[in-house]
Structures are given as structure tokens and as C-alpha cells.
Symmetry: C2
């Protein structure tokens, strides 16, 4: 079944395996579909499956007591979600919601344990993945506590994959502005104001709700670097 197959071949943590082995892994995977807005897992809910993204996009967020949500990361093709439950046996303290219709492959914890035992390479790659995620949250934390929203917005725009067109790059926002605000640790209002300000000073140009043209990359980079 080509669906399952893709799940396995695309994912970094299964990358070290031979074709043979990948096929065996694929045997354990089951495809799952999540509609836009569907909750993939919720805090406190027992989870017994590990998810591998195939297409679409999830947001993983930490919902605070007062209703403020902090988006921790967005999950796309090839990313793995829910490994904490598998590794530690704890229930999640975060929330995963599909931002759009998403396909993923699901591994039961029991099956996964077998795979890990048989193919140590997988743990090895999982370690690397986790380590990368750790650094990326740490970077986010440092960015949020030490720079102002303006700088964070600029840095965020510059990080987005952009398509060049005669000197100016155009980027497509991967989420609604509210979500971006939640990721940058601010509010939609503030984000809106900052973007308006950047636009007013001619650094960027807004087109519709999802497109941003970066007119002056150098200046934007300057904004992104505090002090």
C-alpha cells in the first residue's frame, strides 16, 4: 500500500533502514485522517499511539489556565507527534489540533516498542530529532523573553520559506494570524499593529490575508536583530 509506504520512507527517524526493513515497519502503520479543526490529542487524555505526519499540518500548543495559548510548534510532513506518551508513559500536557485536513500514519505503542528493539537505528535518529526540537523550543523561549515583538515578527517572516521574484521575496503565512500571534507569544492585535507598522515603513507589503512580500530584506534583518 503506497500510502503507508510513504509514511515510512519520508520520515527522518526511519531513514536509516534498508528498503526491506522499511517495508516491515510499514506493516505496522495504519493511516488516519484528521479533519481541519479536529483534536488529535488533548491534555490528560491517555494516548497509546505515535503519529507520523504524512500531509497537512497540526499545531501543538500549551493551553494555559487563563485561556492564553502558546503554540509550541507546528507539525508537518515527516514530523513525529506524541512520542512523549510513548517514551515516558505520561499523558500529554499539550494539545494537538489539525490546522487543515491532515493524513498521518499511526503506530501502536506496543508495535513501536518491537521496532525500536529490533532496529536500534531508530532510537538513534529519534534522539537526534528530540535534541533538535529541544534546541528549537529553547531558541523560541530565548527569543520571546529577550526581544520585542517587532523583532520576533521580523525574524519569523525571514524564517519562512519564500519564493523570490525580482528582488523581493514573497512568503505565504502557514497559519492564520491569530495562530502566528500565539506562536510568537503575543496577541492578534499586537501582531496586526506590528505588521501594519512594517508595511508603513515600506519593509513589507501585505496581500490578502496570507501573503507577505518582503521589500527590504536587509532592513527587515536589521529589525530582527535587537541591539
Amino acid at each position: 500500500m503506497p500510502e503507508d509506504d510513504l509514511c515510512v520512507t519520508r520520515v527522518p527517524i526511519f531513514q536509516g533502514l534498508t528498503r526491506q526493513e522499511q517495508l516491515r515497519v510499514a506493516d505496522f502503520a495504519r493511516p488516519v485522517l484528521a479533519e481541519k479543526g479536529e483534536i488529535v490529542y488533548a491534555p490528560g487524555q491517555p494516548v497509546s499511539r505515535l503519529l507520523v505526519m504524512h500531509s497537512g499540518q497540526l499545531k501543538v500548543s500549551h493551553a494555559a489556565a487563563n485561556g492564553q495559548e502558546q503554540i509550541l510548534r507546528t507539525v508537518t510532513d515527516g514530523d513525529v507527534v506524541g512520542e512523549r506518551a510513548f517514551l515516558t508513559g505520561h499523558r500529554p500536557n499539550d494539545l494537538a489540533v489539525a490546522l487543515e485536513e491532515s493524513r498521518m500514519c499511526v503506530f501502536d505503542h506496543a508495535d513501536l516498542a518491537v521496532l525500536l528493539r529490533d532496529y536500534p537505528d531508530i532510537s538513534q535518529r529519534m534522539l537526534r530529532t528530540l535534541s533538535d526540537r529541544l534546541s528549537s523550543v529553547e531558541r523560541l523561549l530565548a527569543a520571546i523573553t529577550s526581544s520585542d515583538v517587532n523583532a520576533r515578527v521580523a525574524a519569523y517572516l525571514l524564517d519562512l520559506p519564500g519564493t523570490m521574484r525580482d528582488g523581493a521575496a514573497t512568503v505565504r503565512l502557514p497559519m492564520a494570524k491569530q495562530e502566528i500571534a500565539a506562536y510568537l507569544g503575543t496577541t492578534p492585535e499586537t501582531l496586526s499593529r506590528r505588521l501594519a507598522a512594517l508595511s508603513a515603513s515600506g519593509l513589507i507589503e501585505l496581500h490578502g490575508r496570507r501573503e507577505v512580500t518582503i521589500l527590504d530584506i536587509d532592513a527587515l534583518e536589521h529589525v530582527a536583530t535587537p541591539r
Copy 2:
């Protein structure tokens, strides 16, 4: 050599091994001493050793461009530092400094690779450790973005291991207040004011620079919970 031995037996990631195996692991370890204030590793510096804490305490922080430091975690007995360099080959983007005289055991990356290959259990436990650290940074991030300093201070005090004495708990601050401020994502001034305020409203009592008596746990818990 009993020193090395302790390094190995105390550390969670080597916990699954038999005594025999632990002895073999201990063979690879070399003891190292860091004076108070000594830099254990710095951003950008190539690191080829993994450290296991034996006694003392380090702080690991992300120094931002503008001089603001965000303390990511403190590292004590049994904790592992510098695994990112080992796992990904990248240079650190964080800074580790000894808060007090510290003893640790050091493993060369090459030796460690051998150990991981021979004892898959170690990777397993490392995965769990990393996963825990990931959650804890995520919690910190959520706390910093969604609650005010007052709540963070209260929560921090409540998290500290305290010794009960006739209804009131006394906690000993593990670091200087400046460090605590850096951990909570605020400034020493603000921390000082908040502690003074908590003291003024009779929730806590300050003794010297390092001792805090919690007079009203319930009230403090209430402060720690926003909404």
C-alpha cells in the same frame, strides 16, 4: 575508583545496566572539576565530551544578543549536559557555567558511541530524559508567556523542596536572586519587588538572602494560579 563508580551508578541513563556493565562504562569516564564561575562550555565552542554531574550545580542559559540571559535549566547530581553536541554534532548555542564548585564525569564522544552501540538500554533512557527536558522547557515557556511574574514567583517557591516546621515550610533558594530572576524571565528588581509584596501581604517571610518561609501555602497556591 569509587569516584567514577558513583558517576555511573547515580545517573538515570546508566540505571538499566547490570553492575558488570556499569563497571565497564565507568572505565570510560574521567573525573573533572569546575570551580565556581567557571565556564564549562560556551556557545560556538566545539565540544567533544559529554558531562555527567556528580556534585555541585551548573546553570545552562541562552545568552541573547542584547545581554539578557534566559536560564534554561540548572543541572545537578545525576543530570547530563552537552548531549546535543554528541547527538547532532552541532556546536552548542547555549552557555554552561558552574554556580558552585562542581565535580563531573566526562565521556569522550567516541567512547560514548561505543557504549550506545553495545547497550541499547542507554539510548532508551536517554530518550526518556530528553523527552522530560522537552516538556519542562515547554512548561517554562508557557508559564512565562501566559502568567505574570507574581504567579511565576509563587509557583517557583512552591516547586522548591521545602522543609516543614510547625505548619510553615522553609525553602532554601538554590541560586542567587539574580539567577532566579533570569530563570523566571524577569529582572532582579522585579523579583525583589514581588517577593517584598508577598512578604508584605504575609504569605511569606524572608530570612537572609537564601531562606524563605512560606506562611500561607494555600494563599500562595492561589497566587500561583492565574485567572
